[in-house]
């Protein structure tokens, strides 16, 4: 049993948001009913409000990415649960620009439906709204399901590039097209050696046999379709990079995200990143930008994901454009 350090009672997600907002009062403002976070400052050229969100337990995503050059609002649900449509609707109304709102949504059924209902309500009010659906996880690519690939780490890269383009005054249609293009050129895969601790029971979400590794986990503690004998790290990273690149478009320059799932240390993540960049160099792919750290965890799962976004023309400039959020600063 590994008890989390949550406030007493059921409102520990709201308490965490309050703490976050107090810590970053110069960057974000917290709305409490319904719950959402908005940016204090935005580029005056921005014509479209960018809103993202999803379940809690993935901090700093998405609240940590609200601010200049990135999101205008983030909408957190309860742990591993989609936000309610009213939160999304009200947050979107609060930050809509003269050219409307763009929703960045990870591909999960609950998120799709709740963002979808909010979008219907916004259109009913005469506010333009479009959606970029992020679906980068190759572990869930299957002909047998209608749900499609899950949305995971690539969301951070999509949000950075879209934020920069929005600051340059790109309109809603242009941003939507760009976001879909970035998503189409992004792929991820994740592994775990120890499950997250269930926020309900305090017990591990699942138990692995000794020497086993879960290959293809999701960010809500979902198990993979299969466990594999745990290989040395070099072999593991080689396999992950190969699986990601097999499903990504060809290219010679990429942004790379090595994302910790909550229980993985910095020294581990940099080991992974070093091997990942070796692999990419061997294949003639230059790393034009990178993030290494805990960006979208699954509570305290011990594991990591590798995301590769193959660059298109102009994207490197957008990636390196200024941003000032709680956790991503350029």
């Amino acid at each position: 049993m590994a008890e989390a350090f949550f406030a007493s009672g059921a409102d520990y997600v709201d308490r965490a948001l309050l703490g976050f907002a107090r810590d970053h009062g110069d960057i974000v403002e917290l709305n409490q009913n319904p719950v959402y976070v908005t940016a204090v400052n935005r580029d005056p050229r921005r014509r479209v409000g960018i809103v993202s969100g999803g379940g809690s337990g993935h901090e700093p995503m998405h609240i940590g990415l609200v601010g200049t050059g990135m999101l205008d609002a983030a909408v957190p649900g309860k742990v591993f649960a989609s936000p309610h449509n009213r939160q999304i609707y009200e947050a979107s109304k609060a930050v809509a620009g003269p050219d409307g709102v763009l929703h960045v949504v990870k591909n999960y059924t609950g998120d799709r439906i709740n963002f979808g209902i909010a979008a219907e309500r916004l259109r009913h009010d005469g506010i333009r709204v479009e959606r970029v659906l992020v679906d980068d996880d190759v572990a869930t690519e299957s002909e047998q399901t209608a749900t499609g690939r899950r949305g995971t780490g690539a969301t951070v890269i999509v949000e950075k590039i879209l934020g920069a383009a929005a600051d340059q005054g790109l309109d809603l249609d242009g941003l939507t097209e760009l976001g879909r293009a970035v998503t189409a050129r992004s792929r991820s895969v994740a592994v775990a050696s120890v499950a997250h601790t269930s926020h309900v029971t305090g017990e591990p979400g699942f138990v692995l046999d000794p020497g086993q590794l879960e290959y293809g986990v999701g960010i809500h503690g979902e198990r993979a379709q299969r466990s594999i004998p745990r290989p040395p790290l070099e072999e593991l990273v080689d396999r992950m990079v190969a699986d990601v690149l097999a499903k990504a478009p060809a290219g010679d320059s990429a942004i790379v995200l090595v994302n910790g799932l909550g229980g993985t240390t910095g020294i581990e993540l940099y080991n992974v990143f070093a091997r990942t960049t070796d692999d990419l160099a061997d294949r003639g792919i230059a790393v034009a930008g990178s993030l290494v750290g805990t960006w979208s965890p699954a509570l305290d799962m011990k594991g990591f994901s590798i995301t590769v976004t193959m660059l298109d023309q102009g994207w490197a400039g957008l990636w390196h454009a200024p941003a000032w959020t709680a956790v991503l600063r350029k």
Binding site: R86, Y89, I113, G116, I117, E120
Partner: protein
Amino acid sequence: MLMKTYLDAAEAAHAELTRIDQVAGDGDFGDNLRDGLRGVVSRLPADADLATEFDVAATWFLDEVGGTSGPLIGLLLREIAAELAEPGDEDTALVAGLTGGLAAVQRVGEAQVGDRTMVDCLAPTVDGLRAATGPVDWTATAAAALTHARATADLRARMGRASYVGERVLGTPDAGAMGIALLFWALAVHRDPAARDGLTDPAHLDG
């Protein structure tokens, strides 16, 4: 008052809705529908016209009702409210609103006919309304809606939580589809209280 009639049906059907939702989902559909309608009825002024009834109900279901099906029902009610707010014939507005509501529910929920969702009651019932000529026969429409909802018992789920339990749902109809059948029941009884005698008692949805 139509929403009071819908609430009466949801109260009568509560146990049945909970039982059938427990087979496939988390069993909260009966609670969500009943409690949502209780909230609506408690907020409606006594002299509310039909457009106001649907408008208040739409906002309440969108803002306050939990689960996925609650806000989706809110979307349907919102489209009906918008049509009723325009001047013109009430039946024409109801059919147009149901048609628009079906489209909105499918845009957002992405369910097709045959996926075992509320769409399996709503789509064929709306098709029947649109194909009919002459005055709308709401009693026949309500009976047809219940038949369509019951037919979901033969469907495996492709969408929603029920998709995880495979064949175990076969033989039990979908709770969301039944919730929509109750709306048509309420429309029929609202139009003609005597219709109640010729329609299935909501306490016995499953036949």
